[in-house]
Symmetry: C2
Subunit: 140 residues, 2 copies
DNA sequence: AATAAAAATGTAATTATTACAAATATGTAA
DNA sequence: TTACATATTTGTAATAATTACATTTTTATT
C-alpha cells in the first residue's frame, strides 16, 4: 500500500491525510511488528523531527475509532497497534517478548452465553514460548 | 469454597495462607466480578483496616505466578482478575463496562502459524454491547 | 494576503503499577 | 516463654503509559 492509497483510505474514513497520519499508518502497514507508542515515535521522529508523542497518541486513537487499526492489549502495561484488522490471533512469547500473528478460524466456533449480544470485536491472545526460543533453550 | 479449602489450596502451591491472602482469594472466588485492584482494595479494607494496596498487588502477582488466577487485560488501562482459571472467554460491554464470562470451546479450533510453539495461556476477549444494554437502548 | 478550521505540539496532570526500605507478624528452637 | 530468623505487610516514593488542555503551527479557502 503506497502513500496515495493510504491517503485515500484515510479520506474515505473522514480523516484528513496529514503528513504525520500518513507516516504513522505507513509505518504500521509496512512494519507489521505490533509496535507500542514509543517505538512508533522513536522511529518516525527521525523523519519528522517536530513529531510529538501526543500526536502519535492522537493519531492512533483516531485510527482506532475509525476501525482502521486494532489495539492489542496482550501486554499488561502498554498498548500495541496493528494495522491488520482481518481476523487473526496474537501470540506473545514470554521469553523473547515478540508478538506473532497466527491464523485462527473463529467461524463456527462453539460459544454460549452471548445470546442477543452484539459482538463488535474479537481478540484472541495466546501466550507461551515461541519455537525459536524453545529451540534455543533446548540447545543451550 | 470455604476458608479452609482456600487455605489448603494456597499451601499446595507453596503460598503461606496469611489472612490477607485468604481474604483476597475468597473475594475473587465469591464475587466472580472480575474486579480491578482498586475494587478489591476498597472492599477488603472494610474488613482489614490496615490493608495496603501494595499488599493487594503483591498477593495478586503471587497468585498469578502460581497459576491460581488469571489476569484479564481486556481493558486498555487496568488489569482485572479472575479466580476461575477454567477455559472461558470474556466479553466487555462498551456501554455499561460490565465484563461477562462466556463459554467457548477452543478444542478443535482451526489454527496455524504456531507450529512447535508452547502455548501456556489462551485469552479470548470479545467486545461489543450486551443484551441488557441493547434492550435498554431500543426502548429509550 | 487574510482568515477560519484543523492538526500538531509541549507541558502538566492523571493513574496504574512497581521498587524499596521499614515495620509488623509468624514460626521455631532453646 | 523468650529470642531469633524469616516471611509478610505497609507506606512512601518512583516509574511509566496515557490523557487533558492551552498554545502554536499548518492547511485550505476566499
Amino acid at each position: 500500500m503506497d502513500r496515495n492509497s493510504i491517503s485515500n483510505q484515510l479520506i474515505k474514513n473522514n480523516i484528513k491525510p496529514s503528513y504525520a497520519r500518513i507516516k504513522i499508518m505507513e509505518y504500521l502497514i509496512q512494519q507489521k511488528n505490533h509496535p507500542n507508542v514509543d517505538e512508533i515515535y522513536t522511529e518516525l521522529v527521525k523523519d519528522i523531527p517536530t513529531l510529538s508523542k501526543t500526536t502519535v497518541y492522537n493519531t492512533l486513537n483516531l485510527f482506532n475509532e475509525a476501525g482502521l487499526i486494532k489495539v492489542i492489549t496482550i501486554e499488561e502495561n502498554e498498548a500495541r497497534f496493528d494495522a491488520d484488522t482481518s481476523e487473526h490471533g496474537h501470540f506473545k512469547c514470554e521469553n523473547c517478548n515478540k508478538i506473532y500473528d497466527f491464523f485462527v478460524k473463529l467461524e463456527g466456533i462453539e460459544i454460549s452465553g452471548l445470546e442477543n449480544f452484539k459482538i463488535r470485536q474479537k481478540d484472541i491472545f495466546f501466550k507461551g514460548i515461541c519455537a525459536k526460543c524453545i529451540n534455543y533453550i533446548n540447545n543451550n
